[in-house]
């Protein structure tokens, strides 16, 4: 991943604050993840983020 993308991630995480930071720190502090913890990292479909949101 290029450096500019990493900088963009830092900016976004700082903007969106506590929720993102908490899950990030919790994940980075886990040393022996169980299969359940691993599967909990699955992401939702991109369309779900735009549901109910209108442009204009």
């Amino acid at each position: 991943m290029e450096a500019a993308a990493i900088i963009a991630i830092v900016e976004l995480v700082m903007k969106y604050g506590p929720a993102a930071a908490t899950s990030l720190v919790a994940g980075l502090d886990t040393d022996n993840p169980t299969p359940e913890q691993i599967r909990a990292l699955k992401v939702k479909d991109p369309e779900a983020y735009f549901e109910g949101k209108n442009n204009g």
Partner: protein
């Protein structure tokens, strides 16, 4: 206090870079045995990947509501987001199965899916980055 938090993020993202490089190295070794270090490293990498995608998509949705991105740009972000989500979730499933079964055949699948997900995530971030610069 705020500076401390910022420093912590910087440290974590240096760790991310290190983790990414370590993972690439570990994957290239083509180990023939179950590797607990690989599980730990890949889990951390996928955690960062999960948070990055979630934050990027929330940002894209906000930009859409603010009419700063068009329907076409939204469609492009969704298209790449689907590629990321499929690859990321497949890598997650491979890692979980690797942890459960210790089958080394999952390693190669994981490597391919992570590479694909990483490329898609960088594309999403590149699409929304110009709008973040506007806010400064």
């Amino acid at each position: 206090m705020k500076n401390l938090k910022v420093s912590r993020f910087v440290i974590y993202f240096v760790v991310l870079l290190f983790t990414f490089l370590s993972l690439a190295t570990l994957m290239s070794i083509q180990s023939c045995a179950y590797n607990v270090g690989l599980v730990k490293t890949t889990y951390k990498l996928l955690t960062v990947s999960n948070v990055s995608y979630d934050t990027a998509m929330k940002t894209a949705a906000d930009l859409y509501v603010q009419e700063r991105i068009t329907d076409e740009q939204k469609a492009e972000i969704i298209k790449i987001g689907k590629i990321f989500a499929a690859a990321h979730n497949a890598a997650i499933e491979s890692l979980a199965r690797y942890e459960e079964t210790k089958a080394v055949s999952e390693q190669e699948k994981m490597s391919k899916q992570i590479t694909m997900a990483s490329g898609a995530l960088a594309e999403i971030l590149n699409l929304i980055k110009p709008y973040l610069m506007e806010e400064k």
